[in-house]
């Protein structure tokens, strides 16, 4: 097909109100092109790798949970507490995604749990290949739990399947209650929503009801738990949720 005028070279053409003369055998300098239908998901390659991760995790009886939030919502703090309080029994290890630093992995190792840091550089999310690499390094034991801290960002991580069994979205009360409205894809993709830093509710203007309404509009029926990763208030519900998913 001719990229300029849309004619399909060679045949008699009736549509020439656009004025460039076709005195040809298609001789007006258009190279011959052909159109190929692909109908392929943009992220097909990532999705295929994610499927491999999912199978590998299932074969090894490993529960992998992907934690996603804006920067600073409390992912690492919640992981630290979870490992201190459950880590020994559940055999938790951690994949830490971060653009630049290794600070979060160091915080996790300080709790005694194995952790591998994946620096995504300019990339603002983990992808399935990165999780595969992380799992290879981490080499988690059979029947254990791998908690994945994604890069702090609510856009891309929603699009990139890692092959995890569950996705957890964390919002803190120091952010706006309109988060679900701004990032509906992320909330829609969540298996669990955690509202963190509830210890700060008396000091901030956060409309819990509006937040819950937004989360449930984006994802009807999604479970929402309120907790404080620093005081430990409400974390029992999160632990129950996690235990219920153990293979």
């Amino acid at each position: 097909m001719c990229a300029t005028c849309g004619c399909s070279g060679g045949t008699i053409l009736e549509h020439h109100e656009h004025g460039h003369e076709h005195g040809h055998e298609h001789g007006h300098g258009h190279p011959e092109t052909r159109t190929v239908t692909l109908e392929q998901a943009v992220l097909a390659r990532n999705d295929a790798l994610a499927e491999l991760n999912r199978t590998w995790l299932a074969d090894h009886g490993i529960l992998a949970v992907n934690l996603m939030s804006s920067p600073g919502a409390g992912k690492t703090t919640l992981l630290e507490r979870t490992i201190r309080e459950l880590g020994a029994r559940l055999r938790v290890s951690v994949v830490e995604g971060d653009q630049e630093t290794v600070l979060d992995a160091d915080r996790i190792r300080a709790t005694g749990a194995p952790a591998v840091q994946i620096n995504t550089g300019a990339g603002c999310h983990l992808d399935a290949q990165m999780l595969a690499d992380g799992l290879r390094t981490l080499d988690p034991p059979e029947r254990s739990v791998v908690l994945i801290e994604n890069v702090g960002n609510l856009v891309c991580p929603a699009l990139f399947d890692l092959g995890e069994q569950a996705r957890v979205v964390i919002t803190s009360v120091t952010e706006g209650a309109e988060k679900p409205r701004k990032y509906p894809q992320m909330f829609r993709a969540a298996d669990l929503v955690l509202l963190n830093k509830t210890d700060l509710l008396p000091y901030v203007d956060f409309d819990v009801a509006a937040f819950l309404d937004g989360a449930r509009r984006a994802n009807p029926g999604v479970e929402v738990l309120q907790l404080s990763a620093t005081t430990g208030d409400g974390v029992a519900g999160w632990y129950d949720w996690l235990r219920a998913r153990l293979p």
Binding site: A3, V36, E39, V42, N46, V155, A158
Partner: protein, 118 residues
Amino acid sequence: MSTQGGSFLHEMAITQSVVQAVCERMGDAPVRRVCLEIGTLSGVVADSVRFCFDLVTEGTTLEGASLEIVQPTGKARCRDCGAEFALTDLLALCTCGSANRELLAGEELKIREVEVLA
């Protein structure tokens, strides 16, 4: 890093995935046109992809290709009353008040077709 939807950084990864996928499928054939489907509810901002495209295609078989983006709009079916309706955002409710809906269109993120030199 911006945490806003549609920042240039986020669409960069998507655009790179497009280029990688097309290169894998089409081999060495020079690509003249790429047609994408990006649903209005996909969370991917079409204008940002356009912005990234020239940058990402530089030095590849897609260099100089034109980019067409089709944007299917949101459509849903209510699981409570069965109505089908246009969905302008993912938080909108059915007229019956239900949020329990099945998305029929709007989340597409697809490479529809490419045009290559024969």
